[in-house]
């Protein structure tokens, strides 16, 4: 293998694929990056041989094709220190030593047999589903945080993808809250899969890079893997096997009070209240009072902390229905407010002990259901 490429490209590629490298593993070679040079490009791949694989293609002048694996940490650290110039790489086949040179910097890094690298599954198919990258990014952001991090029910550590004619619905739940995002798509497929949240977090990062573009989603014939192609990057994820719980029934059908406030103001007051409620339980109390006559409706947000004192914030609000009192975990509120893609949010409540529903005002793509906390009023 003998190639030349730009430091910038290689650095970007290595950083992208390094996200797939596991922190602990039974397979030492998964700490390596696979480099494959062919045609006019160099393909970088990394995998945890478990959940995800990421490959990234960069342009390269390939004088002699070939492949090798190199320890990810070592080569990433080295390349990061190099100037933005051309890097040349040359592999000594027998010793599996790669010589890297960039301006006056040179290094020699020992690799392993590329044939021992876990095979990176690739799915070739014409039936790819195409999704707008920014849309998918928003959908991921609005759901992935609701997935469980702990995993006695592994299906809950993933996000449910439900493709139906013309739409895709993403859902995640961790027992305390539920996020559902629905978006229109062009394809007409019927399919439901569970994608590991970890893979989606990484995909979100890759999508962040492709501000415009499109994402091609492909499944392998066995239906056990999904592949996302985004520009130069490709992320392949193993699907979680199992049945996702029926979440539709968790979305309350009725409401006694609907309170509409500014997201920015609600966030600011919740953040302040959360600071005061910083004691593990993080209780933030909300009282919504409808307007009367010339008095506008308002939302009062309070938190108590034994040592620090109390806090009370008041927001203007459009309140429909009866007065409502409800308490939430401040962290849960912040999590959802952070990902709303609207200026105003509607909070729908029924009673202090029934789930609260948050929806962005102006689009019906997203709905979040969160369980209130039990408190004494």
């Amino acid at each position: 293998m003998r190639i030349a490429c730009q430091q910038e490209d290689l650095h970007r590629g290595l950083s992208a694929v390094a996200r797939a490298i596991p922190t602990r593993t039974t397979l030492p070679i998964t700490q390596h990056v696979l480099l494959e040079a062919e045609g006019d490009h160099l393909t970088l791949s990394a995998t945890d041989a478990e959940t995800i694989a990421i490959t990234y293609r960069i342009e390269a002048k390939v004088e002699e094709p070939g492949s090798i694996t190199l320890p990810s940490r070592l080569i990433s650290d080295f390349v990061a220190t190099l100037p933005r110039e051309e890097i040349t790489m040359r592999l000594a086949e027998r010793s599996r030593q790669v010589s890297l040179a960039c301006v006056r910097n040179t290094a020699s890094i020992g690799g392993m047999d590329p044939d021992d690298f876990p095979p990176i599954p690739t799915v070739e198919g014409s039936d790819a589903i195409t999704i707008e990258a920014p849309r998918l990014r928003t959908a991921i952001a609005q759901t992935v945080f609701s997935a469980a991090t702990d995993d006695s029910r592994p299906v809950l550590t993933g996000v449910h993808f439900h493709f139906t004619a013309g739409s895709l619905r993403l859902a995640a739940a961790d027992g305390f809250r539920l996020s559902v995002h629905t978006m229109p798509i062009d394809a007409k497929v019927e399919r439901a899969v569970i994608v590991p949240a970890r893979a989606l977090s990484e995909l979100g990062r890759l999508l962040g890079e492709a501000a415009e573009g499109k994402v091609a989603v492909t499944f392998n014939p066995a239906g056990t893997q999904v592949q996302f192609d985004v520009g130069h990057a490709r992320l392949t994820a193993n699907l979680i096997q199992g049945t996702f719980p029926n979440y539709e029934q968790l979305i309350p059908a009725q409401k006694a009070t609907r309170t509409e406030v500014s997201v920015a103001e609600f966030m600011r007051e919740t953040r302040i209240a959360s600071i005061f409620a910083r004691d593990g339980s993080g209780i933030v109390r909300i009282i919504a009072t409808p307007g009367e006559g010339s008095n506008p409706g308002r939302l009062v947000i309070t938190a108590r902390a034994e040592e620090v004192g109390n806090n009370e914030g008041i927001l203007d609000a459009v309140v429909e229905g009866a007065e409502a009192k409800i308490a939430f975990n401040g962290r849960y509120l912040m999590d959802v407010l952070n990902v709303l893609d609207a200026d105003r949010v509607a909070i729908e409540t029924t009673s202090p002990s029934s789930p609260g529903v948050l929806r962005p005002v102006g689009n019906d793509r997203f709905v979040h259901v969160v369980m209130p906390m039990f408190v004494q009023w």
Binding site: G175, M373, F374
Partner: protein, 605 residues
Amino acid sequence: MTDRPPIRILPPEVAARIAAGEVIERPASVVKELVENALDAGATRIEVEIEGGGADRIRVRDDGHGIPPEQVADAFERHATSKLRSEHDLYAVRTLGFRGEALAAIAAAADVDLITRPAAQTAGATLHLRRGRTERQGSAAAAPGTSIEVRELFASLPARRRFLRATRSETQAVARVVADYALAYPEVAFRLTADGRSALASPGSGDPREAVAAIHGAEVAAALLPAHAERAAPVEGEADIARCEVAGLVGPPSLHRASRAAIHVVANGRTVTARALLPAVELGYEGLLPGGRHPVALIRITVPPDQVDVNVHPQKAEVRFRHERLVFATVQAAVRAALSSAAHLAPDSPDLTAFAPSTDGTAYAAAHAWPGLDLPPETPVAQPPFEATSGRSVIAGARAASRTERDRQPPADLGGRVPVLRPLGQVESTYIVAESSDGMVLVDQHAAHERVLYEEVRARIAAGERPSQPLLHSVLATLSAPQAALLAGGARDLEAVGWQVEPADGAAVIVRAVPAALAGRDVARALADYLDRLEAEERLSGPDRAAATLACRAAVMAGDRLDAAQQRALLDALARCDTPHTCPHGRPTMLHLSRAALERSFGRR
């Protein structure tokens, strides 16, 4: 008492076998000899008075059987003893002051006045010696017992007198001796008066705990756990059986000191510095005490008299056990047994790490160990007053005034709050390194967070709140039999901390709500983990037990990485705690390396 052997001159071969050496080193040695004589005389009350650290005057008065008039003169002869009759007896020492040198040596070094009256006699005998020579002998009216007054110790030996330390330090040494005997002989009432002030008074009730109370204070005494073990083993090649019985009182692991001075070992009634046995005591605490800290313990060892050799050291403070391994094992077993059965440690017992025994004259042998936070400057004796030097650190400067204030507080108040600490970083993802107003502090993040959460949860329970996070959909959890039993037994306390669990079929339960602090975790696993932890939390009961368990489960773990803001938040919260020095299980939350200790370690002073 009538068949007591009279005082005899030891045959030279016996005297020769006795280790030679200085007997009288300092006033404390005199007190020791006189107290032992008093104990041998069957005293039930022993009063010790000293002036000028004992160098000016020592008087020991007892209510023992006294010395018959015809033997009074012999009492101060060298190698006169009523206790040993032959070489064989050396190996079966049942009494304490068997060596005849004692009184003779004292008489040689000071002026001595003796008044003694056996209860059967009507009048007492008096004897006045000056520099070892009898000046006057006579009789006088006296209470039954013996009173010996020693004045101007080393007056004839100016070189020795110069070596005596400050009065205060000699007083402490005497106090230590009297304290040791008071612990070894709880049935004897001891009183020590130094320069007219009462320094120690044990009741002589026979209860070792009361003796400890007289020395270390009632709080420490109440915290001690009874320890007992008995062992016997055949001895190779001998008909004899090696035996050992250990009884005593040992402190819970939450009670620890910077030096070994609070480990008292009594062998066959003789208080000893059994260096070889200290590890046995400390091994019993293995893993329970912070590094460099030492327990509080009173260990009373009983072995057959022929299995102990007290003749190792001229001052008789060291003993040698014939079957040391057996004794070692018995001591360790007794300590372990006491600690493992310990269940009654008060959750909020004040931090005793800073409690320095007033009788401790060893000037903190472990000066280089890391004392607990807020330990006053190493020795109460010789340290110059603390000087706040500006420019060392912002915090140090700002808090210098409050620090000196704190230093003046009596030790018992030192379990109080800690100042806000400035986090510097994390070690091993387990300890937070922080700067305090005096040097640096290492905080165990888990223990500290446990303390913070524990106090919060208890405050909430007290306020009738029940921070609980209900579930969006209930979860079915399968429990083991012990877990289910715990759940059934403590249902009310579990609800108080926020659990809402209902029985379902068999071993399954339905979880409807979790404590707010556990929200976000896997519900079934959190419940099982919680119940397992609850089972281990044997020391507490009721809501406190439920609260401590919650604190433990919800706290950050050792190995969790914390960012700077999290470290700061934890230290701030710790500073708000009522009892910040220990976690709910009594383990320390922090170790302190004072500026003084740093400076000493780096040879800056």
